[in-house]
Symmetry: C2
Subunit: 317 residues, 2 copies
Amino acid sequence: MKKYVVAIDIGGTNTELAIVDEMGLIIDGKNFNTQSVSSFEDYISELSLEISNILIKNNMTDEVFKVGIGAPNANFYSGCIEHAPNLKWKGVLPISKMLSEKINLPVVLTNDANAAAIGEFSFGEAANLKDFFLVTIGTGLGSGFFVNNELVYGHDGFAGELGHVIVDCKSDRLCGCGRYGCLETFVSSSGVVKTAVQLLEKSEVPSLLRKISPTELTSLDIATAAEAGDKIALEVFDFTAKILGFALANTVAITSPQAIIISGGLAKSGDLLMVPLKEHFENFLLPLFKNKVDVKYSSLLEKNTGMLGAAALAFNN
Amino acid sequence: MKKYVVAIDIGGTNTELAIVDEMGLIIDGKNFNTQSVSSFEDYISELSLEISNILIKNNMTDEVFKVGIGAPNANFYSGCIEHAPNLKWKGVLPISKMLSEKINLPVVLTNDANAAAIGEFSFGEAANLKDFFLVTIGTGLGSGFFVNNELVYGHDGFAGELGHVIVDCKSDRLCGCGRYGCLETFVSSSGVVKTAVQLLEKSEVPSLLRKISPTELTSLDIATAAEAGDKIALEVFDFTAKILGFALANTVAITSPQAIIISGGLAKSGDLLMVPLKEHFENFLLPLFKNKVDVKYSSLLEKNTGMLGAAALAFNN
């Protein structure tokens, strides 16, 4: 009986693929540079070749029955990646159809944050949770919602755009979507850097961050400075946590989840983010929801939750 | 075969009950003053008596198999009304259990806005919609969300509190929930009056509304003045529509519904609210969702959507 899938996580920089079993165990994995080829057709050829290679290497060509993919701006319903700002190929890319024709296996697709939510539901912190949502904070801010044990795709497949909830109508922070004041302009690696630059400009408090040029400052520099007790860096985390706590509390009023799981690069900030986040979140909550909603980091931070979710998607669809 | 239910809509002022068939047809109805009795035990006795009377009058005592209730702050999971600010009985009221014991019929319960959403899904504008939400605007602002053809209760039964999404962190509008700047402090009959009073204070533009004492001004006065072309009254509607459009657009980014249905007293304002609402809503939407989401009034405005929803709840649970 065929009981393995190939799971693929497509990012702007890296493409990771692996053979995965139904317990989420990775049999073997590989990754390659998403940008290494020029056309999308060439990318599909490269991806097909890598899939063949890993199957042959593990002598599992006849054991795999499906492929699951998590990718930016991917649509579960259409099987297409649609206008992804973080990929170099523009427009609507019918990836499921193209890959399926090449490798002769069925392909299912969803967006990267949804895949991560499915990963948590299947193998992580959200196993046994009926209602939760996941927020993944890295280059941008993505999210995936589970309601009544099902991922919320919405009528068009684009539900879960928490990063594009406007948290400040009057903000001058321009978002990639063309609007101002979206959550991800504050809560993302670049959002955190913007906050630091603004705080440094506004105050004269000494800071380790002043040694770094504003154009070279990274969220990692800010985390390192905060760990060393730097006042400005700590203020950056508090401000970021406040805006995130506000947005999460507002979202709880809509779906009333049992837990919110934080994932992605910024989740590696540990207590620097989590301690002020929990405090602000509870402060902003409607009394009805106070002390009821668990906010926590993914237990899969060191693994690729999105890839595990793509595997679970393949097993379940 | 028993194929009727008793549906009950409990409001702060009125309690409506009716015998309803599975097509949503009301066989006979009755209403009485919710406040006419002092204790909650007496209210249950009164409600039981009215149910008996209407069943006997219609010779249908043996035809009804269940009771469905929509009530403020009611919890589907617990069968209790919990801390309802608009009812005179405080604390946790185990209404399903108490009523069921009196009338010897199973009782199902949900909150009034959820009941209205179920009514729209079963008999109204949302029939055949898999993903939508309903917003009911009256004394307060309630909401009910459908995702994948199911009402979203959340893990504790309290999902759909859109009225308590904070739309302005810096607002001085105190909400009944104890926080400031909730959507319902702007978008509700009292919210509209507050906006009018503030606009009248801030400007010297002549207005029909200046003839009415601020403490006696109602949302109906403002609608009447707006119909007559009153500048301030029109500005009140535009401001209200802008805040509502902002909150709805943010909510779309989470659940990506096919439609948003507006119900309740303020929905009777017709184009005064709907024309600016559609404009502001589209302006605030993430480009991905523009021109995709239908905002419209309930087609059941002249009926009691909540009561019809309570009937559908009884048929389906």
